[in-house]
């Protein structure tokens, strides 16, 4: 009886919900990462101007939020594409599938360097990922050398690494809602973590504890959540020469007159170093396409075509102008082939 009532409730909800939903749509609906947003909007605008299709609508909802909306179902009321600053997870794909979103095409569009920057008035520190991990993790290996974890005792960079100046640790970075944060954790914290063998060993033994150790960021003021507004971070850095900031390479590129990227493991964040992979902290950017929508929503194919075209994603393309690091040639060829064929993810 109870089950029947539940089923009835579910059914009536389903039945009434789309009463007002539109049954056709003549523009592409895109959601997702705020990191990819500036690139996607440029392509969308170019696409809208160059073709007779409408310019896609792009909402900036964050990677996770975008995937959530994207995976809510198939149909014009759901978005066609979601941008992501990280690869979609298996669990998310499964979630998609249960909602009927079965065929998803992954498009890797390029790389974004995650720069750690400071004001031009700052002291141009040379950092390593290990330094960053020690400075920012909530728990760090006991400084006395025993293989135990203690709450992060470090107050200045000098405490972390004697080669660094005695400046208070103050890093402005993205909040946990942001894909940039995810990437930072994976590319810097995990890597820094792995430089301690006993923690690295935990990876196999107790994955959960490993993650808790490596990916939890201190909350005692050393790391300041500065919101998604990277402009403000730049302003703050300018005001406070001892603070460091974490943001995408494109922002660094736009604000070269005010801030400077710090070298990590000896490599400066530059167009070339990111592109050839020598700069260690860079991450791929993606977008995901619902295959079921490609044939139905007008302009989908053309939009994909525009995005992967040479003049957009190519080495001299307009996305590179905006600070997106293009894919290496061979990778570009595979991506381009896969998109043209609409190969879905397995």
């Amino acid at each position: 009886m109870k089950k029947a009532a539940l089923a009835l409730a579910v059914l009536s909800a389903v039945a009434t919900a789309p009463v007002l939903a539109q049954s056709s749509r003549d523009y592409i609906s895109i959601v997702g990462s705020s990191t990819v947003y500036p690139f996607a909007t440029v392509v969308a605008e170019q696409f809208g101007k160059a073709t007779k299709f409408k310019t896609p609508k792009i909402e900036s909802t964050g990677s996770g939020g975008g995937i959530k909306l994207f995976c809510a179902g198939v149909g014009v009321q759901h978005p066609d594409i979601t941008n992501a600053s990280r690869a979609i997870k298996k669990s998310e794909l499964e979630q998609c599938a249960t909602n009927g979103v079965k065929d998803v095409v992954e498009v890797k569009i390029g790389y974004d360097g995650l720069s750690v920057a400071e004001s031009k008035a700052g002291k141009d520190m040379k950092l390593t990922r290990r330094d960053l991990f020690l400075a920012l993790a909530k728990q760090v290996p006991n400084p006395n050398g025993t293989q135990t974890l203690v709450d992060n005792p470090y107050k200045t960079w000098k405490d972390v690494n004697a080669a660094l100046p005695a400046i208070k640790i103050e890093v402005l970075g993205p909040p946990p809602t942001s894909g940039t944060r995810d990437a930072f954790v994976e590319l810097v914290m995990d890597e820094g973590c792995d430089t301690f063998d006993f923690i690295k060993a935990m990876k196999k033994a107790d994955k959960k504890a490993y993650k808790a150790t490596c990916q939890t960021i201190r909350e005692d003021g050393g790391y300041v959540e500065a919101g998604e507004n990277d402009n403000l971070i730049v302003q703050k850095l300018e005001a406070n020469p001892t603070a460091l900031g974490i943001f995408g390479f494109s922002f660094l590129d736009q604000n070269r007159d005010k801030v400077r990227g710090l070298s990590i493991e000896g490599v400066q964040p530059e167009f070339e170093t990111i592109s050839n992979g020598s700069y260690p902290v860079s991450r791929p950017l993606f977008f995901y396409v619902k295959k079921a929508h490609v044939a139905v929503i007008p302009g989908m194919k053309e939009y994909l075509g525009e995005f992967i075209s040479k003049k957009a994603m190519g080495e001299e393309g307009y996305l590179a102008e905006r600070g997106l690091i293009p894919l290496p040639k061979d990778e570009y060829a595979t991506v381009s082939k896969r998109v043209t064929a609409l190969d879905v993810m397995k």
């Binding site: 579910v10 014009v76 997870k89 909040p175 946990p176 995810d182 300041v224 998604e228 403000l232 079921a292």
Partner: protein
């Protein structure tokens, strides 16, 4: 749903016809002598028209409301047993696909034979329904119209009938306010309850740490995930406090000056100019705070050797105070003007100076009203969003230092919801819980403030 507009047009035509015939019949029963009729002929026309349209409309609405679920149930019961046995989630998916197939929307996969059959069935049911609906609605409209038509007599009180229906419509309109409140409460309540199932309400209300870093995904390590909202409340109060220390003295003194001292001409210019401050959109203040005031404060702070956060509570509070000035001054102006002239004369008559009159007579007399006005302004400050979203920080500091960055309830609602729209993690649910708190707090403030103001008005009416 394409038949609905056609049906509506038909109904409209039908009721227009009903109006025409109603008028005509009224003339006829009165033998052309309108004075004999109880009401004007137009009312008879309206009466018949309403009879023709309203019942049919009601049936139409009810039909449309239930048609979907009834058809869906029928289609589901026609599906093979194996599909019916699926869990509600999967079943929903199937139903959704069928509906998408029918409406020509995108379908999740290649439809198989059963699906196509079900869609066909659905479609046939839909067309049966549509025809039936047409027939039923039109027949009902005709019958009811005829009923109304047949009631037309010389003595029939058509106007009263029409008016009671209009009255009903007016009542319906006035209940929209109640529905809105109910809607607000429901929309935040359910999500809040779910939130409080995950996070104890005491922890939420009294916890000293706010750090909603629950893992975004199952495989990601979250931080402590503390949901103690006290730092948010404290931050909100700090910014509100700063805003009020700007707005209350300036607003109140301006109101007193303009009401008691200023010449008519100064008043005529200054008062509307001050009120412009209230009309400027808050996003403009936010922009102003973030780009002009905050850097200014930070620079003057560093000039004085102070360490000022670039998202200092001071900047947001200062600008919010600017915005609130006219709220305080207009409302105070009202209450000051409500103080009877006789009290002023009483004080002047014994040689009190203007300032003594204001401070010792007018101000105490107007105090309850002013307190009400200030409470309303406080509630406005607490709920203000754009200024703090653009100019205040995200860091949940439990501090009373206005030079540090604090975060507020509204900022967190926006970041939690706009940053990531997962509707089931406690993180986003927390936004609704914060919304609930915000709603309740402002509700209580408004309630008290309005009560005080009303009591005060009664005193001098």
């Amino acid at each position: 749903m394409t038949q609905t507009p056609i049906l509506l047009v038909l109904l409209l035509a039908l009721s227009s016809a009903a109006y025409y015939f109603g008028c005509k019949r009224a003339f006829r029963v009165a033998d052309g002598k309108i004075r004999k009729l109880h009401s004007l002929p137009g009312y008879y026309g309206l009466y018949v028209a309403l009879w023709a349209a309203l019942p049919a409309l009601l049936i139409l609405c009810a039909w449309l409301l239930f048609q979907g679920s009834i058809i869906t149930r029928m289609v589901v019961s026609s599906l093979p047993e194996s599909i019916q046995q699926l869990g509600p989630d999967r079943l929903n998916l199937v139903v959704n696909d069928i509906r998408n197939l029918v409406s020509g929307n995108i379908v999740s996969g290649q439809p198989d034979a059963t699906m196509l059959a079900a869609a066909e069935y659905y479609r046939s049911l839909l067309s049966v329904c549509r025809n039936l609906l047409f027939a039923v609605v039109l027949v009902v409209a005709g019958l009811c119209g005829w009923f109304g038509y047949s009631k037309i007599r010389v003595q029939h009180r058509a106007r009263n009938g029409v008016e009671s229906i209009v009255n009903g419509l007016l009542v319906a309109c006035s209940t929209v306010a109640i529905l809105t409140t109910v809607g607000i409460v429901l929309s935040v309540l359910f999500e809040s309850i779910r939130f409080f199932q995950a996070v104890p309400i005491t922890e939420f209300l009294f916890g000293l740490e706010w750090s909603p870093q629950i893992a975004l995904r199952a495989d990601q390590a979250g931080s402590s995930g503390a949901f103690g909202a006290v730092p948010l409340f404290a931050g909100t109060l700090l910014i509100t406090f700063i805003a009020m220390t700007v707005a209350v003295p300036i607003g109140l003194m301006s109101a007193l000056y303009l009401a008691e001292y200023a010449s008519a001409r100064v008043r005529a210019v200054a008062k509307p100019l001050l009120e412009v401050l209230a009309g400027i959109p808050t996003v403009v203040y936010g922009f102003f705070a973030a780009l002009t005031v905050a850097p200014f404060i930070r620079e003057s702070g560093s000039f004085l050797g102070l360490d000022v956060a670039s998202e200092s509570a001071l900047a947001a509070g200062l600008v919010m105070g600017m915005m609130i000035i006219p709220f305080v001054s207009s409302l105070s102006d009202d209450v000051i003007n409500a103080v009877p002239q006789s009290l002023r004369e009483g004080a002047y008559g014994m040689g009190a100076t203007s300032s003594e009159t204001i401070r010792r007579v007018i101000f105490p007399a107007a105090l309850p009203g002013i307190v009400g006005a200030i409470l309303l302004a406080v509630s406005r400050a607490i709920g203000e969003t754009m200024i703090v979203v653009m100019a205040a920080g995200l860091a949940s500091n439990l501090t009373a230092n206005p030079l540090e960055a604090v975060t507020t309830v509204t900022v967190q609602i926006v970041t939690l919801l706009v940053g990531d729209q997962e509707f089931d993690s406690p993180k986003t649910l927390a936004a609704f819980a914060l919304g609930l708190v915000l709603f309740l707090v402002t509700l209580a403030l408004n309630f008290v403030a309005l009560y005080i103001v009303r009591k005060y008005r009664e005193q001098y009416d």
